[in-house]
C-alpha cells in the first residue's frame, strides 16, 4: 500500500502519530453527532405517531426536529467521521505525515462549535427553509470555512505523498475534498446570500443536495471501502483495471442527477430528463465499483469486512432502486411518499454509515495503540446496525410504495391513506431505535478503550518512581 523503501520503515508510526489527535477527535465528534441526530430523529418519529407529544414546545416542532436531525447526521456525523478517516487514509497511503495536524484539530473544533450553534439556532428560531442549508446564514459560513480549510489539509497531505502513484481511495477523497467546498460555497451564495427569485433556486438546490450525497458522502464512503477491503482481506483490489473507469464515470455522471426530484414539478422538463438519464447511467460506475469491492463478505470473521459488506449491498440496492424508480411511470406513484425517504436512509444509514464504521474499527486500534477491549461489542454493534437498517428502510420502501398506490387512487380519501401509513411509521421508528441501540455498543467500547488508554497515566507520580517498566500508551 504505502511506499516500500526500507529507509521509511519507521514512517507508519510517525504517520499515525501525526494523525492521532485530529483523526480521533473527528471520529469522536462524529459519534457524538450520530447520537444527537438519532435522538432528534427518534423524538420526531414519536411525534409522527403521537402528534400531541411535547406539542406545547415550539423548539420541538416536528418540522424543526426533522431538519435538525438531518443536519446533525449529515454535517455532524457522516461528514466529520468521513473527514477523519480521509485524513488517515491520505496520510497512510501517501506515507506522509498529516500536515498542520494541530491546526486541523482547532478547525475541527470550530466546525463543531459552529454546528452546535447552528442547530441550536435552527431549533430555537426556525429553519432557513432550504433543505440541507437549514443552518441560518449568520452561522453557515463558519461551517463552510471549516470545511474548506480541512479539505485543504487533506489535499496538502495528498500533494505531499511519497511517490507519484496513487490508488482509487485517494482519487475519490481528492475529488470529494475539491468538490464539496465548492458546491457548498456556490449553494450558500446562490441560495442563502444572493437568492434569485423563484424556481431557478429549486434547480440549483437540487444540484447541491444531490452533490452533498453523491459527490461528498459517497466518495468518502467509497474511499474507505476501497482502502480497507484489500488491507483487511489481504487481497489486492479485484478487477483493478476497472477502477479508473468507475471513478471517472461516477464523477462525470453523478453531478447531473440533481433535478430528478422535481419530476412533474414546476421546473423546465429538460433538467428532469437529463437527471433521469444520468441517474440510470450511474448504474455503470456502480457496477464497476462493485466489481472492485468484491473482497467483503457478510459472513467474514472480521467485523470490518462485515460492515463493508452491508455498505456495499446497500449501495447496490440504492443504485438499482434509484435508477428504476426515477422513471416517470414509477415516480407518478412514488413521488412525495416515504419511499423517497427510505431511499435516502438506505444511502445514509445503509451505505455511508457502515462504511464509516468499518473504517473506525480499522483505524482506531492503530491510533490508540491497542485493540478495542470488548470483543462481543462489535458483533452486537453489527447485528443491531444491520437489523435496524433493514427494518427501517424496508418499512419506508414497502410502506411508501403502498402509500403511493393509495395516493394515486383519488377515490381513497387522504385521511385513509394517512391512517394506513401509521403502522409503517411505527415499524420505521422501531428500526431507528434498533439502529440507535446498536450505536451504544460502539460508544461503550470506545469509552472503555479511552479509559484503558488513560488508566496507566492515572498515577503519574508512582509511574515516575517505579523501577519496573511502566506501560506506555501507544505501544
Amino acid at each position: 500500500m504505502s511506499g516500500s523503501q526500507s529507509n521509511l520503515s519507521d514512517r507508519p508510526d510517525a504517520v499515525d502519530a501525526s494523525c492521532r489527535l485530529p483523526v480521533l477527535y473527528l471520529l469522536a465528534g462524529g459519534l457524538a453527532w450520530l447520537f444527537a441526530g438519532l435522538g432528534l430523529a427518534l423524538v420526531a418519529a414519536v411525534k409522527l405517531k403521537w402528534p400531541g407529544f411535547l406539542s406545547q414546545c415550539e423548539v420541538l416542532t416536528y418540522g424543526r426536529l426533522e431538519a435538525a436531525s438531518r443536519t446533525a447526521l449529515v454535517f455532524g456525523f457522516a461528514s466529520q467521521m468521513g473527514l477523519g478517516l480521509a485524513f488517515w487514509i491520505l496520510a497512510r497511503t501517501g506515507n506522509t505525515r498529516l500536515p498542520v495536524s494541530g491546526i486541523a484539530f482547532v478547525i475541527a473544533t470550530v466546525w463543531n462549535a459552529g454546528l452546535t450553534v447552528g442547530i441550536g439556532y435552527l431549533l430555537l428560531q426556525g429553519s432557513s427553509g432550504v433543505t440541507w442549508l437549514e443552518i441560518p446564514r449568520q452561522i453557515s459560513p463558519v461551517i463552510l470555512a471549516a470545511t474548506g480549510l480541512l479539505s485543504l489539509v487533506g489535499i496538502a497531505a495528498f500533494a505531499a505523498r511519497d511517490g507519484s502513484r496513487s490508488e482509487p481511495a485517494q482519487w475519490h477523497l481528492l475529488g470529494a475534498l475539491i468538490a464539496f467546498p465548492l458546491l457548498y460555497l456556490t449553494a450558500q451564495l446562490a441560495l442563502l446570500f444572493f437568492p434569485v427569485r423563484g424556481i431557478a433556486q429549486s434547480v440549483t438546490h437540487g444540484w447541491f443536495s444531490q452533490g452533498l450525497f453523491l459527490l461528498w458522502l459517497a466518495p468518502l464512503a467509497l474511499a474507505v471501502l476501497y482502502h480497507f477491503i484489500p488491507v483487511v482481506s489481504e487481497r489486492p483490489t479485484a478487477s483493478a483495471r476497472f477502477a479508473p473507469l468507475a471513478f471517472w464515470t461516477w464523477w462525470i455522471l453523478a453531478g447531473w442527477t440533481g433535478a430528478a426530484e422535481w419530476i412533474g414539478g414546476p421546473v423546465p422538463a429538460w433538467w428532469v430528463t437529463v437527471s433521469i438519464a444520468a441517474g440510470v447511467l450511474l448504474l455503470i460506475p456502480i457496477v464497476l465499483t462493485l466489481l472492485n469491492l468484491q473482497g467483503a463478505c457478510l459472513f467474514s470473521r472480521s467485523v470490518v469486512l462485515r460492515f463493508a459488506a452491508v455498505s456495499i449491498i446497500s449501495f447496490a440496492l440504492w443504485g438499482v432502486l434509484t435508477a428504476v424508480t426515477s422513471l416517470r411511470c414509477a415516480q407518478s406513484v412514488l413521488h412525495f411518499t416515504q419511499f423517497g425517504v427510505g431511499l435516502k436512509e438506505l444511502f445514509l444509514f445503509g451505505f455511508v454509515a457502515p462504511a464509516l464504521f468499518a473504517g473506525v474499527y480499522s483505524v482506531v486500534p492503530r491510533l490508540a495503540g491497542r485493540e478495542f477491549p470488548c470483543r462481543i461489542s462489535p458483533q452486537a454493534h453489527w447485528i443491531f446496525t444491520t437489523g435496524g437498517i433493514a427494518v427501517m428502510t424496508l418499512a419506508f420502501l414497502v410502506g411508501g410504495w403502498i402509500q403511493g398506490w393509495q395516493l394515486a387512487s383519488p377515490e381513497i380519501p387522504f385521511g385513509v391513506v394517512s391512517a394506513r401509513l401509521h403502522p409503517w411509521l411505527l415499524v420505521h421508528a422501531f428500526g431507528l431505535a434498533l439502529f440507535g441501540f446498536g450505536q451504544m455498543a460502539l460508544a461503550a467500547n470506545a469509552a472503555w478503550l479511552l479509559f484503558e488508554c488513560v488508566k496507566p497515566l492515572k498515577d503519574p507520580v508512582i509511574a515516575l518512581f517505579s523501577t519496573t517498566a511502566s506501560p506506555v500508551v501507544g505501544k
Binding site: 411525534k47 409522527l48 402528534p51 406539542s55 415550539e58 416542532t61 416536528y62 418540522g63 424543526r64 426533522e66 431538519a67 428560531q125 426556525g126 429553519s127 432557513s128 427553509g129 433543505t131 495528498f158 500533494a159 507519484s164 496513487s166 482519487w171 481528492l174 475539491i178 465548492l182 446562490a190 434569485v196 427569485r197 423563484g198 424556481i199 431557478a200 433556486q201 434547480v203 440549483t204 444540484w207 464523477w251 453531478g255 440533481g258 433535478a259 419530476i263 412533474g264 414539478g265 414546476p266 423546465p268 433538467w271 415516480q331 407518478s332 413521488h335 412525495f336 411518499t337 416515504q338 395516493l407 394515486a408 383519488p410 387522504f414 385521511g415 394517512s418 391512517a419 401509513l421 411509521l425
Partner: protein, 217 residues
C-alpha cells in the same frame, strides 16, 4: 493513474460543467420570466402572481420557520403524473411563474400531509378554521399534523364574556372551564398565508381546463 493534476482538473471540469447546467443556465433561462398581465372580466388589468399581503407574507415566514414543508408540498403535478388534480388539489399543474414572488420556493418533497398549493381555494368563502392549527384532530380525526398550541394564548375568560375570537374546542383539547383559547398574532399570520394559497389563474403555459369548476371539491 499516476498523476494528481489529472484528478484535480478532471473533477473540477466535471463540477463546472454541472454548475453551468444547474446554476448558470437556470438563472438565464428563467430570468426572462415575468408576471402574467391580463385584463379580467371587469376590465381591470391584473398581474399574476401578485405580491402577498403583509400578514400573509409574515405567515409564510412562520410556515417556513416551523418546517411545515417537511410534510406539505406546494405544487400540483400534471394529470399525466399523479392524482393531484383528480384529488382536487388544483385545477391545473403548477408552473415556474406561480413561484415568482417567492424568495425561497417551498415546493416540498413529502406528502405526509396533503398538498396545500390551493388550500385557500378549498376554504371557499369560509374563514380559515384556526382550530386546525390548535388541535388538528378535531377537524380531521387521525391527522398526524403537529399541533402548534404555542401560537395561541390560553387565558381566563374576562368578565364572564367569552371573546369572539375564542376557539370552539371539544374533548381533550378544550381548556379548563373559565378559560378560553384565543389565537395569537402569529396564528393569524399563518392562517392568512394558508388562506392566500391559490394558483387557479389561467396562464398561457398552463391554461385552466374549461370545465374545471366542478373538479375542485
Amino acid at each position: 493513474m499516476k498523476y494528481g493534476p489529472i484528478i484535480y482538473l478532471g473533477v473540477l471540469t466535471a463540477l463546472v460543467a454541472t454548475w453551468f447546467g444547474f446554476v448558470a443556465v437556470p438563472r438565464r433561462q428563467l430570468a426572462a420570466l415575468g408576471p402574467d398581465v391580463s385584463t379580467n372580466a371587469a376590465g381591470v388589468v391584473v398581474s399574476y402572481p401578485a405580491a402577498r399581503s403583509g400578514e400573509a407574507a409574515q405567515g409564510r415566514d412562520i410556515y417556513l420557520s416551523l418546517g411545515c414543508s417537511a410534510c406539505h408540498t406546494l405544487q400540483v403535478r400534471p394529470e399525466s403524473g399523479g392524482s393531484d388534480i383528480a384529488r382536487g388539489w388544483g385545477k391545473r399543474r403548477t408552473v415556474a411563474r406561480d413561484y415568482l414572488q417567492d424568495a425561497a420556493p417551498l415546493l416540498g418533497s413529502s406528502r405526509l400531509g396533503p398538498d396545500l398549493a390551493n388550500f385557500g381555494e378549498r376554504l371557499g368563502t369560509n374563514a380559515f378554521p384556526l382550530v386546525r392549527l390548535f388541535a388538528p384532530r378535531q377537524v380531521s380525526p387521525g391527522s398526524i399534523c403537529t399541533p402548534v398550541p404555542f401560537l395561541f394564548e390560553t387565558r381566563p375568560i374576562r368578565r364572564g364574556v367569552p371573546s369572539a375570537d375564542a376557539l370552539v374546542l371539544k374533548g381533550a383539547a378544550a381548556p379548563e372551564s373559565g378559560n378560553e383559547v384565543i389565537p395569537g398574532r402569529r396564528a393569524r399570520q399563518l392562517a392568512a398565508f394558508l388562506a392566500s394559497l391559490s394558483t387557479s389563474v389561467d396562464l398561457p403555459e398552463a391554461p385552466l381546463p374549461v370545465a374545471a369548476e366542478t373538479a375542485l371539491k
